[in-house]
């Protein structure tokens, strides 16, 4: 047992008063959760403290909230750890290292109804419905089950694991800037169908999400949602996979994100190291044909990139200006380049997806990768995973 002070941002809509802070003293085992602390305060001190909760086991998705400024689940955050985080935060700004309070607020990017209860309907669920969240198979179902690759089911089970808690939405930086952004949870849900071999509308779904100015290209890759997600859904990864698939389907990408990614992969495969000047060129005018007959857009984009490129040269990140003619490049010494190529080949052969649902603990992931890559050089695995 230990004593904690939790400071809750409260809002009682019927009182006519603005939101205010209230502190509660609770006494519980450090291994119990922040939600347990709130429920104790509610049971003992003030039953009007509103907080959605049901399962207490991080499975129903009710108790999304901000704890010490970080979005997550109240029932999954141990109160002892929340206290440590509060202490750390205080000492980082030069405050006390003891006697700090655990700060609890309703989730962000959603209107507050009462205390910690937010209006998820007008935000989260409206966005959820935006992605046509049901399976659209082709024709009549088979007599028995659909026969599909076992991995494909494991793959989409990662986004299926989403409990719709809204923590990612709460933490999303893009959504703060653009409230219309479809957002991490709904896009992760979209991947659940795009990645599902039983769904027949993959192209339509991808086109829809790519063309929407608030769609897959509205994400700024900030990692906040990955951090916030209590279930390892890694919404950003799902968004990146949607982008990659859109690219594979030849859907035009206003930011050339997928093309950029492919360029990255191709240059490393060919050269072993990254030449940023090549990256620009490969992104907008890929291959020999691109160089000989660059499209209007490619020229425009490359001219537009000149200031960046010049900055790149100044800082040494780029070796030369983007070229429209084939140039001479450094190669890696000795057989190193062949090793890189071998890694690519093996990665392609075993089709390793590094963000699979079953990845488990970090150590295991590395072990699994090594297992599958043996006997090829394992150190390259990390690079390949970034591609």
């Amino acid at each position: 047992m230990a004593d904690y002070t939790i400071k809750v941002r409260r809002y009682q809509p019927e009182s006519g008063d603005p939101a205010y802070w209230e502190e509660f003293n609770v006494e519980l085992d450090p291994s119990l959760s922040v939600l347990d602390g709130l429920l104790q305060a509610k049971d003992r001190d003030d039953g009007s403290l509103a907080v959605r909760c049901s399962c207490r086991a991080a499975i129903c998705g009710s108790c999304g909230m901000k704890i010490n400024g970080k979005s997550g689940l109240g029932c999954q955050t141990q109160i002892g750890e929340a206290q440590e985080a509060a202490d750390k935060k205080a000492s980082a700004v030069g405050g006390e290292s003891e006697g700090n309070v655990i700060v609890i607020e309703p989730m962000g990017n959603q209107p507050v109804i009462k205390d910690l209860v937010t209006d998820m309907e007008s935000t989260h669920w409206t966005k959820f419905r935006r992605v046509t969240p049901w399976l659209l198979p082709h024709g009549e179902p088979p007599e028995r089950e659909y026969i599909v690759e076992p991995e494909s089911m494991v793959d989409i089970t990662q986004s299926m694991a989403c409990i719709q808690c809204g923590a990612c939405v709460s933490s999303c930086l893009s959504m703060e800037a653009d409230p219309l952004f479809i957002g991490p949870a709904a896009l992760a849900k979209a991947y659940r169908f795009v990645g599902d071999p039983r769904d027949a509308e993959t192209l339509e779904r991808l086109t829809d999400l790519a063309k929407d100015p608030h769609g897959i290209y509205d994400c700024t890759h900030c990692f906040s949602c990955v951090d916030a997600c209590p279930k390892g859904v890694a919404p950003m990864d799902q968004i990146m996979r949607l982008r990659r698939k859109a690219g594979e389907h030849g859907i035009e990408d206003p930011n050339s994100g997928h093309a950029h990614e492919m360029a990255f992969v191709n240059i490393i495969e060919k050269k072993g190291t990254l030449d940023e000047s090549l990256l620009l060129q490969e992104s907008f005018a890929p291959g020999v044909l691109g160089k000989l007959m660059p499209s209007k857009r490619a020229i425009k984009e490359m001219i537009g990139s000149l200031p960046t490129a010049i900055r790149g040269i100044k800082t040494g990140k780029m070796r030369s200006l983007p070229k429209l003619i084939p140039g001479v490049h450094h190669k890696l010494p000795g057989g190193a380049q062949d090793d890189v190529k071998a890694i690519y080949k093996r990665a392609e052969e075993s089709n390793i997806e590094f963000n699979l649902y079953i990845k488990g603990e970090e150590g295991d992931q590395e072990a699994a990768v090594e297992e599958r890559l043996e006997p090829a050089a394992a150190p390259g695995a990390e690079e390949a995973s970034n591609g």
Partner: protein, 534 residues
């Protein structure tokens, strides 16, 4: 058509079902085998006509779920793959990692989106009582919009209760905070019969104190149960099925070990999952890796985790027939709220999700047919006014008018867990019953802090307490009445099963002076009661 849920539908408790769902779908398995396992699991108290329906229709239902989009685990050929579960003679449990319930429920919610033109959703609306017309038929339900406190009478030609179980009456429990027996009590209050209310399942593997569940899937994957001396004690109690015997058997074995001093000092035994290959753990038991890590501070891939039997499932409930019909025309019940009875004295793992789907479907069909052929009728009394008055009464109670609602809930939970649990006897149950009746009186004046309309969870908690106390009273009466040991009901004062006198269901009906007892036959089609060994 409307669907009402007191929490957002995806927050419903079915998402807690980790392990899977049973069906004899493999060519070398048969529905008869599934049915027999269920009958035996129920300690012959299950109604065999209903069990046959469930087992026979299971394969089709699984395929239907698969076609709707459930991401069931596949074997190497890309077909549906299974895992082993307790009390089953074949590996016939289909699953999605260990989020089976969540996956099925989310897919059903997807379908609800797809058909949103036809079905109105009332998300976060709390139903508090049923309306009955002058012919004694159910004609609607009074419901409160949680967001603004407004109350409405939803008139209906058919009403299906799918409100889940009553686990919150016990503390600790694996059940969510919303499992407060609302539907069971609502039906009971308007005169529907309840059945098998004494049959309360204690799950063998829950975390001490918090009541979190470690899925049976863990034992299905090969995990072992060990006492403090490192002995695999199930050898003594169920030499053939060992850890995978029926839940009542395993829970009793554990409790015996604990009671006889072979448990750990914290009143637990150990579940050793480290014997399961690590990759398999991460693939199939990911959720419990997280439960172990987040809620017990244990890495289950590296060390055993301490567990004990904990309250888990309400086998009893509102008495229905195979079409989900209760004793009240127009009122249906399906899922954990209902007692068809397919689970009898003890539910087999992975049979409950199946129960919800099969009898949910039957109820839906029959309810729709009834709605097509009946006319609208009006409630006989002024239900809405009465309900509003009840709410105003609770809302008007000021601090000091009585005890706190939360205090009463705690006392109820601890009493039931102490006296109406794995082992029971007359003295203990009688004591529990007396406590419950006192708490019922105290609940009448219990006060709440929140007197507003918007999201008044305090008020709903007080109403739920009323439901919990009604259900608890019925569970005590049933447990006291059944003077034998069968399934989850183990009476230390009557340790044997007694088919001669007790191969029958106990029914309870509401009267002025509490539940009135009557009996109904157990339907036997092809399996005569036999001694039950595993």
């Amino acid at each position: 058509m409307g669907i009402v849920s007191k929490v957002h539908p995806v927050r419903s408790h079915s998402n807690a079902a980790q392990g899977g769902i049973n069906a004899a779908l493999n060519p070398d398995d048969t529905w008869e085998s599934h049915a027999f396992d269920t009958v035996k699991g129920s300690d012959y108290l299950g109604d065999q006509d209903a069990i046959e329906v469930m087992a026979r229709e299971a394969p089709e239902e699984i395929l239907h779920m698969e076609h709707l989009g459930v991401t069931f685990h596949r074997n190497e050929e890309g077909k549906l793959g299974t895992r082993a579960f307790g009390g089953a003679s074949a590996a016939r449990t289909y699953y999605v990692a260990d989020i089976t319930g969540q996956a099925i429920m989310h897919v059903l919610y997807e379908q609800l989106m797809k058909y949103s033109e036809q079905i109105t959703r009332y998300e976060e609306w709390f139903s508090s009582s049923l309306a009955i017309d002058e012919n004694g038929e159910c004609c609607g339900v009074v419901t409160r919009n949680v967001a603004d406190g407004s109350m409405e009478l939803f008139q209906a030609k058919s009403v299906i209760l799918a409100t889940g179980g009553s686990g919150q009456i016990w503390k600790p429990t694996t059940n969510a905070l919303i499992c407060t027996g609302d539907g069971i009590a609502m039906a009971y209050r308007v005169g529907a019969k309840l059945m098998d209310m004494e049959m309360i399942q204690y799950h063998p593997t829950t975390l001490a104190g918090k009541g979190f569940l470690i899925t049976e899937g863990a034992r299905g994957e090969g995990a072992l149960l060990l006492n403090k001396n490192g002995e695999r004690f199930m050898e003594k109690y169920a030499p053939n099925k060992m850890e995978l015997a029926s839940r009542d058997v395993v829970s009793r074995a554990e409790q015996t070990e604990i009671n006889e001093g072979r448990g750990f000092p914290d009143g637990t035994v150990a579940l050793d999952i480290t014997v399961v290959p690590k990759k398999r753990i991460h693939e199939a038991l990911r959720e419990i890796v997280l439960v172990g890590r987040d809620f017990a501070g244990v890495d289950i891939t590296r060390e055993p985790i301490h567990i004990k039997p904990g309250n888990h499932y309400t086998m009893g409930g509102v008495k229905t027939d195979v079409e989900g019909r209760t004793d009240i025309p127009g009122l249906y019940a399906a899922g954990e709220v209902a007692c068809v009875s397919v689970h009898g004295g003890n539910r087999l793992g992975a049979n409950s999700l199946l129960d919800t789907l099969i009898f949910g479907k039957h109820s839906g069909r029959d309810a729709a047919a009834r709605a097509l052929r009946t006319d609208w009728s009006k409630p006989s009394g002024k239900v809405l006014e009465d309900e509003q008055a009840m709410v105003d009464d609770i809302n008007g109670r000021e601090k000091g008018s009585g005890r706190r609602v939360s205090e009463i809930k705690l006392e109820l939970g601890q009493t039931m867990d102490a006296k109406v649990a794995v082992f029971r006897d007359e003295a203990g149950i009688t004591e529990a019953l007396e406590t419950v009746r006192r708490l019922k009186e105290e609940a009448k004046t219990a006060y709440i802090d929140d007197h507003g309309q918007v999201f008044n969870q305090d008020l709903m908690g007080a109403i739920e307490l009323g439901y919990m106390l009604d259900c608890a009273e019925c569970s005590c009466i049933g447990a006291l009445e059944r003077k034998e040991s069968r399934g989850a009901q183990y009476r230390t004062d009557y340790p044997e099963r007694n088919d001669e006198e007790w191969l029958k269901h106990i029914n309870l009906e509401k009267t002025e002076d509490g539940p009135e007892i009557s009996y109904s036959e157990v339907t036997i089609t092809q399996w005569q009661p036999e001694a039950r060994t595993y």
